[in-house]
């Protein structure tokens, strides 16, 4: 295997993981505040369709992206209204919205099926893309990919380093304690659910304007469910969530490379398609096993604590529970 092939493969993994990264980071923001937006899969389909349709009609990729983000934010707003104001079951509302949005995307998207359309322009980062190895892998893409990478760093930094981030954690962790400290719990939950939704919309746009161009029946099928699972595997921490998303991309890429290898010609394709999930579950089991506890006990307290925090993820304490304010 020569270097250029490796670089190419890694670059394609980075690019192909973009929608999953954006969607799972968006969902992380929403769930960190305590709201589960289960509508991801439908929401991505609808926003991907919208992005392409708007860009196709107006000829402007920017308008397409903005429209997709608005759609993602709007679906999230419906989830927020139903779960925060009406105090309905978040999971049920999200599930119904998933189906509704997916069907809506199919129905409204019919005129745009398999039409060639605009594409996000390629935009290598000056200087950075010239760095050997790292340059072509990370910095020789389009804006979506850079935004997805930026979203990881920015979300982590916002949640863990800023005052509003502390409040965001508090609202999801224990809303009644946040309220006791003068935080307007439900307003913040609305805000972060909608912001997360806009990122999900961006994920949809990145799909139809960059990763898998255009629109077709069941174009984005499954991406949203994968992102939801990755948020849980990633323990609601942006770095780990992103690592999960890229790991999943890697497993998938490995699958298609192995599939092309004649030695595996007898193996059914479904194995390669589903193996990433099995591998993810195995990785999770490994991290949460008791053996790891024993290993950590041998380390100095500070290191053990840092490692534990890096590996383990606990759901926010108030996840999925409505909060009655006042």
């Amino acid at each position: 295997m020569d270097t250029s092939f490796l670089i190419q493969t890694l670059a394609s993994i980075v690019a192909a993981s973009t929608p999953v990264v954006l969607a799972s980071i968006g969902e992380t923001i929403s769930e960190k505040s305590g709201v589960i937006n289960l509508s991801l899969d439908g929401s991505i389909a609808l926003s991907a369709m919208t992005a392409f349709a708007v860009a196709f009609t107006t000829g402007s990729v920017t308008l397409g992206i903005l429209a997709a983000m608005a759609v993602g934010a709007f679906v999230a707003l419906v989830v927020a209204f139903a779960s925060i104001t009406l105090r309905q079951q978040q999971v049920a509302v999200g599930f119904v919205l998933t189906l509704l949005c997916a069907d809506l995307a199919d129905f409204l998207g019919t005129p745009f099926v398999r039409k060639p359309g605009p594409e996000m322009p390629h935009l290598p980062v000056p200087y950075l893309s010239a760095i050997p190895l790292i340059g072509p892998i990370l910095f020789d893409h389009n804006l979506f990919i850079y935004l997805s990478m930026l979203s990881i760093v920015a979300t982590w930094w916002y949640i863990y380093k800023t005052q509003p981030g502390l409040k965001l954690q508090g609202v999801g962790e224990r809303p009644e304690a946040a309220f006791a400290r003068g935080v307007n719990v439900n307003r913040l939950r609305y805000l972060y659910c909608v912001v997360g939704g806009a990122l999900v919309g961006l994920a949809g746009a990145s799909y139809s304007l960059s990763i898998k161009l255009g629109w077709s029946h069941r174009h984005t099928f499954g991406i949203g469910w994968i992102a939801l699972a990755i948020v849980i595997f990633g323990g609601w921490n942006p770095w780990r969530v992103a690592a999960g998303a890229y790991l999943f991309g890697l497993f998938k890429a490995l699958g298609s490379i192995l599939q092309r290898n004649p030695a595996f010609s007898g193996v059914p394709t479904q194995i390669f398609a589903s193996a990433p999930f099995a591998l993810m579950i195995f990785a999770l089991l490994l991290v949460s096993s008791e053996g790891v506890d024993r290993l950590l006990a041998l380390l100095p307290v500070r290191l053990a604590r840092a490692l534990d925090r890096a590996m383990r993820g606990r759901p926010p304490g108030g996840l999925g529970k409505p909060f009655v304010q006042g």
Partner: protein, 502 residues
């Protein structure tokens, strides 16, 4: 700051949690708020600290009326509350918990926050690691963190709700020293909410006693403990005549029983109950009596000791074997645990038939239900769903569903929420079973009921069981002492101690 609460009323549906409570908090004093579970202490303090808004009444600070819509607003007025279960963020670090409350700039100054945390910590000898996750701290440490938060925000009135529950003895000593210092040296008002007489006696300058949502008395230190007990539990009525029953052979023997649980471990319980005997279990809710009762029914995992029913060792045996041995358990949650919500009375009788045929005989079940409805005076029909019955009728239905022959009957709050007539009826049924040789163990929060109905009484306090007391020679005051964890009262009384218990 001098705080006055004037005629505070707070109702939850039909329950009058606070029914016209007035009290005054002086600066520089530790004010005790004493009362049983459900006396309305926490509700009153939540009204004062903005967690609840009172239905009626006023809060005055130095004569000026205050009103606040949230706990944060109350804290801006200098009133802060420490909850029994610390209201913090378990998954966040100590420093982040602290910063969240008071640093309102976009980038919190961690170095300054750490310095302030350390400075406050040194002042009160609270040694908290700023980088530790809150969930890794003990309850006492979490309390200290909450206390520092309130102090950093300038609280002048600090309310502590049952702060000694779940903290260690050194932490308690440290807490008391801190509270004294905050009151006596810094002139803050401290409200110490508790049901533990000993602690109130040790710490407080003044005390107000609540009972059933009303103030039953106030006192200044030094306190007359017997007066406080009377204010807390009320006067006892003279015991009524009881039909003597000659106890039969032992039916329930418990030796060295240890029942672990997440919050509390019941330890070293020895008890021998004979056929036809009634034993009352007293104690504040969560003192271990329920855990013990459920262990006797085979519903809790035991860590050590043994349980014998009718001479057979049933330690660790499944619930089914306890049922076969003639043990029955009637839980307090009638709809939650005792009955199946959504099913009718006839369906319950069909369900109670343990070895019936595969196809239900509905006619027979309905007939059986109708017969029991008549015999147990249940206001309802065979096809009435159980949740449509009143509390008293649900209790009657649960009694009607019991098998006819029982060796041991375990009950939680047999007459809770029932009027006098229904209570008497329930006890008639129970005493009839007793005459047939059923041993009865029951939990009740009503001390008069315990003394009136039992042959012997045991008191649970912090997971430990007192020696059994003869009910006819025990008074409500003595029980009050034991419940509140004071042992002196019963030694002064004419109580015979039968066995020493760990």
């Amino acid at each position: 700051m001098r705080i006055e609460l004037v005629d505070i009323h707070k109702h939850f549906g039909p329950v009058r949690a606070n029914d016209g409570v007035s009290l005054t908090l002086e600066p520089g004093a530790i004010h005790g708020l004493l009362g049983e579970n459900g006396a309305g202490k926490t509700t009153l303090m939540k009204c004062l600290s903005g967690y609840l808004s009172p239905d009626r009444g006023a809060i005055l600070a130095d004569g000026q009326p205050l009103s606040f819509a949230s706990p944060a607003e109350a804290l801006r007025h200098g009133i802060g509350m420490l909850h029994q279960d610390p209201l913090d963020f378990p998954q966040m670090r100590v420093l982040d918990n602290f910063l969240l409350a008071f640093d309102h700039r976009f980038f919190p100054d961690r170095r300054r926050g750490k310095a302030l945390l350390q400075e406050l910590g040194t002042r009160f000898q609270f040694n908290l690691d700023p980088d530790a996750e809150v969930m890794s701290l003990t309850v006492g440490e979490r309390q200290q963190l909450e206390m520092l938060r309130l102090l950093a925000l300038g609280a002048q009135v600090i309310i502590l709700d049952e702060p000694t529950t779940g903290i260690s003895a050194p932490q308690k000593a440290q807490l008391f020293a801190t509270l004294r210092r905050l009151a006596e040296e810094e002139g803050r008002s401290i409200v110490f909410v508790s049901h533990k007489l000993e602690e109130v006696e040790e710490l407080c300058h003044r005390v107000t006693v609540l009972r059933h949502g009303k103030v039953t008395g106030e006192a200044e230190a030094p306190f007359q403990v017997n007066r406080l007990v009377e204010m807390m539990f009320g006067r006892s009525l003279p015991p009524t005549e009881r039909v003597p029953v000659t106890p039969g052979p032992p039916v329930l023997e418990v030796e060295g029983l240890v029942v672990p649980s997440y919050q509390l471990t019941v330890e070293g319980v020895n008890l021998c109950v004979r056929a036809g005997e009634v034993v009352g279990l007293a104690g504040l809710e969560g003192s271990g009596q329920r855990l013990f009762l459920r262990a006797c029914a085979g519903l809790e995992r035991t860590a050590a000791g043994c349980i014998r029913v009718g001479g057979r060792d049933l330690t660790g045996a499944p619930y089914r074997r306890f049922l076969e041995a003639g043990v029955a358990y009637l839980p307090a949650g009638r709809l939650e645990e005792g009955l199946v919500g959504g099913l009718t009375l006839a369906e319950h009788f069909a369900l109670a038939e343990r070895r019936g045929p595969f196809f239900l005989n509905w006619a027979a079940a309905r007939e059986r239900a109708a017969a029991h409805i008549g015999r147990f005076n249940i206001v309802g029909r065979p096809d009435t769903p159980v949740e449509a019955l009143s509390g008293g009728n649900q209790q009657r239905a649960m009694l009607a569903l019991l098998p006819s022959r029982l060796n041991v009957l375990l009950m939680e709050h047999p007459t809770r929420g029932l009027d006098v007539e229904s209570s008497n009826w329930v006890w008639e049924q129970l005493l009839a079973r007793r005459a047939e040789g059923t041993a009865i163990l029951f939990i009740s929060a009503d001390l008069d009921e315990i003394l009136e109905r039992s042959d012997r009484v045991v008191v649970f306090c912090g997971g430990r069981m007192s020696a059994p007391l003869e009910a006819c020679r025990t008074t409500v005051e003595q029980l009050g002492y034991l419940i509140a964890g004071k042992d002196v009262g019963c030694e002064a009384g004419n109580v015979r101690r039968e066995t020493e218990v760990g």
